[in-house]
Structures are given as C-alpha cells and as structure tokens.
C-alpha cells in the first residue's frame, strides 16, 4: 500500500496517464468468464463465436473459458453442451475452452457430467443456481458437488449474471447465497470451486479464503477494489474474468490499472491455475 505521503504527492497535480500503463499491460490472458451464443432477451455485441473470438484476440486473450447462454433457459442441456463443444472446436480450439453446464434438478444429470467429461473432453463445468432455481442448501447441489469432485472436474458457480434491478420482469433470477460454501468446502476438501460474478459484498459477507475456493474479478466494484481485496485474499485464488460479452471486456482489464499491482501479481491474476 502506498503511504499517506505518496498519496498526497500523487494527488497534488494531474498528469494524464496513458490508457493502459506499462504495469497493466498483460498478454496471453486467460479469461475464465466468457459465454458464447445469445443472451435470452436482447442482442449483445459480439454474440457470434467468430465475432467474440476476434474481439478477445484483439484484447490479448489467449484462452477463454466459455459457457453458453443457451444453458440458462434451454432444457436440453445435452444438446446445448454438444453445440458449445462443437462451436468452440470449430471457431478457435486454441482460444475457447468449452465449459459445459449441469442442472442438478434435471433427471439423470449424471449422464451430462459423463458426456461433458468423456465425450467432449471438458476440463470444468458451470452451474447457474439462480436461473435453474436451487440453492446451495439443496441436497441436489451437494450430490452434484460430490459427483464432480469424484470425477475430478472443477466447478464454476455463476453467482449472478445481471443486476437484479435491471432484470427482465418475466425472468427475475436471485443472486446465489454463498454463505453455505465455506462449510461445504470443508466437508468436501477435494472439491475445486470457482465463483463467477461474485460482488465485493458477497465475498466479504459469505466467503473466507480456503485452499479449494477461487473467484473472478468481473463483478467487483469500488475504487482500487483489487488492491483492497488482496489484503485479505490470496492472489493465486483470484482469476481474471470479464463476464463478456454481457459486460464490456475492458472493464475487467482496467481494474488491473486502477489498483497498484506488480507485474508478477498481474501475471498471476491473468493466468489462472484453477484447472
């Protein structure tokens, strides 16, 4: 942390900073929070796989962990996951890492787990408790976590996608209550979980560092939020995620500039070792 004295010196006079300072330049970025396909109820920029691939390449993304917006509402997740795997492979297999979706409320979801891992070779899976209407207290979630853990496949929990205040009235989806997560992770220590789109408040009220828990930076807000967070959270368990194309991709990138981070810290953030 800078001292009070450096604050005063730095704030005394304005000199225009370049858009991206050298410290914030990062290459070969791994973005852990990307979606392909269409948002359910309006069009987004870059919502075709090719357009999104071009956009991400232009920003220096080398690997994008991609789920599918189709998984939010479509019930045939087997087809959604197959299409996602095919689109990732067809568009840019070096860039896109397909992340399939499971819904523990669906009959025989275990078959989807097996197909994602064995047929599509997926390295992680994503779940949407808000859209799929269950909580982390439901026994179905625990069963899913146990199954993923014994299959040695890490899980991304999408805590929220859109601000509750702007959601479509017919599609209001609550944020995921993460308070049970620390206890579950203690119970199942081999589980590996990354929470996507957690807000700063969710983290402060529900989570504490655990060796098997990660989250991404897409929904974090507040001036200098990363340097504040790093006072209590290990950087190895934070990951660069953009929530693009729903969010402007640059929002995540500029957070690296707003906080005082070393090049080594930026490298760690932008090259997640979660998988």
């Amino acid at each position: 942390m800078p001292t009070r004295r450096t604050f005063l010196t730095q704030a005394a006079a304005f000199t225009a900073a370049p858009l991206l300072s050298p410290a914030a330049s990062a290459s070969g970025i791994t973005d852990v929070n990307i979606h392909l396909h269409r948002w359910p109820h309006h069009r987004l920029p870059h919502d075709t796989p090719t357009a999104l691939a071009d956009h991400l390449h232009a920003h220096g993304v080398a690997q994008a962990w991609a789920g599918s917006y189709d998984a939010l509402l479509q019930q045939d997740l087997t087809a959604v996951n197959a299409r996602l795997a095919a689109d990732c492979a067809k568009t840019d297999p070096n860039l896109f890492l397909a992340i399939g979706t499971l819904n523990p409320n669906h009959p025989r979801w275990q078959d989807d787990l097996k197909r994602c891992q064995q047929t599509h070779g997926m390295k992680a899976l994503r779940i949407y408790p808000g859209f799929h209407r269950y909580t982390l207290a439901d026994p179905a979630f625990r069963q899913l976590l146990e199954a993923a853990t014994s299959a040695r496949i890490p899980l991304q929990i999408v805590a929220q996608l859109e601000d509750e205040r702007t959601q479509h009235p017919a599609l209001q989806t609550p944020s995921v209550d993460l308070k049970l997560l620390p206890a579950l992770l203690k119970d199942i220590p081999e589980a590996r979980i990354m929470v996507l789109n957690a807000s700063s408040t969710m983290i402060h009220t529900a989570l504490q560092p655990a060796p098997n828990l990660w989250f991404d930076i897409a929904k974090l807000e507040g001036c200098g939020v990363l340097e504040t967070l790093l006072q209590t959270w290990p950087i190895e368990q934070l990951a660069f995620g953009s929530n693009a194309p729903f969010f402007y991709w640059l929002a995540a990138k500029l957070k690296l500039q707003e906080s005082a981070l070393t090049p080594a810290q930026i490298h760690t953030l932008t090259h997640s070792v979660f998988l």
Binding site: P2, F7, L8, Q10, A11, A13, F14, T15, A16, A17, P18, L19, S21, H42, L44, P45, H46, E162, D163, E164, R165, T166, Q167, H168, P169, Q172, K219, L220, E221, G222, C223, G224, V225, A244, P245, F246, F247, Y248, W249, L250, A251, A252, K253, L254, K255, Q257, E258, A260
Partner: protein
Amino acid sequence: MRIWDLHCHLTGLPGLTPEERATHLLLYADRVGIERLCVYMGLRFLQNPTPEQLIQQNNEVLRALAAFPDRLFGFVYLSAEHIETSLAELERCVAHGPMVGVKLWVAGRCNNPSLDPLIVRAAELKALVFQHTWIKTGGNYPGESTPDDLVALAQRFPSVPLICGHTGGNWRLGLRAIQHQPNLYADLAGSDPTAGITETAVAALGPDRVLYGSDAPGRSFATQLAKVHGADIPESIKQKIFHTNLHRLLTPILTAKGIKT
C-alpha cells in the same frame, strides 16, 4: 483523451475527513487518467437529509473543494423535501461559493412542481442540474424519480439542461424516455458495464447529449471508463462523452465565476 468525471462521491473511501477522502479519490483517478471530478454529497449517504444534514453534507464537499480547487468541481446537494433550505444552500454554495452544479437524489420525485423554484434559481445561476433516476424491476424508492418524471420537469423548463442520472439504470428504457426531450442529457455512471450502453445512447441521443461519469468510489473508475473506452464508436465521439460535452454544459458557470480549466 481528456477525461472529466461527472459523478463522484466522498462515501466509502479511507480517511475520516473530506480532505483525506478526496486525496484517496484522486489517487485512483490519477491512475486511470481522469483530470477533473464532480463531487456531491458528504461523508455518508443520506437519502432524506434534514435541513441541518444538508448543510453539513455541503460543508464537507466545500472542504474537499478547498483542498483540491484545481481538480474538483462541487455540486450542491438539495432536497425536494426542504425547499427553503435548498434555496438558501444554492445562495451559499453556488451564488456566493465555489460550487457549479446541483445534485438532487431520492428525497422526492422531480415531477412534483414544488421543485420548480430550485430549477428557476439554479438556471439563473447557470448551475448544472443533476437528477438521479432509476427504473428498478423490483420498484423504486417512494421519492425516487424515473426518467419519465424527469421528462415532465424538462418540459416545464425546456431551455434548462438537465442531467438524467444513471440514464435510468435500465438504460434501454431510460433512453427511450428521454430521447425526444432535447434538454435532457444521459449520465452513463453507476450501473454495471453492460455492453452496448454507450453505442445505444449515442444512437438515441446523438453524440452531444451523452456524458461520462463513474459514481466512484462505490463504483470502480475502471468499469465505468470501460463503457466509453470499450464502445464501438469513433474516438472523436469518445472525446465528446469524456470531456467536451460536460465542458460545454459547465462553460457558462465557469466563465461567470472566472474558473479557468
């Protein structure tokens, strides 16, 4: 790119005094290239301040302005619930003080004509008026204005520029509401960096009625700057949104007060 930030606060920063809070705010602003910041309301958020609290909140901003007169612009916090005190605060902080704008938040809805004397006096003083607006799926606060409420006010004062705070939050609906009211301007601040907000605002309002703001420190400068830096629009329009448009709106009062930028 010159960047002025229309929408900042002193709440939620380290430090116990306005001067310390402003110091921290500027530290982060410097890292992302923001030259000047408009600040309003005091060390804590008060949705329905008493007359005494209004004065206190404005005193806190006055202290921050005195510490950084070359970096901060102040907007006086007024309340639809306390018209007399608000008129007196306009005199104290704008007519006889350094402030250049007005902030109205959620104490009362802005379509209520009881607010009109504030707008009349602000316009005489050339103070730029900012009204918070939202359209919340789950419902607004009782005193919280919608963009439609602001259109009603703007129709009563067609020659006074008014800023539609947050572009209604739900910007697709907010832009529809204000599109055809030429004295209304869109504030991009204080919502998630949802892709398309800036392109859609420029398409609906033209490049001259869109203003960059952050709502820092509650919001990160990064997420809000990205709405403009990351938009698929020409660099010349980004410059208008980041600086030229706000500069144009503030020029009458800056000139009247002899403030050089």
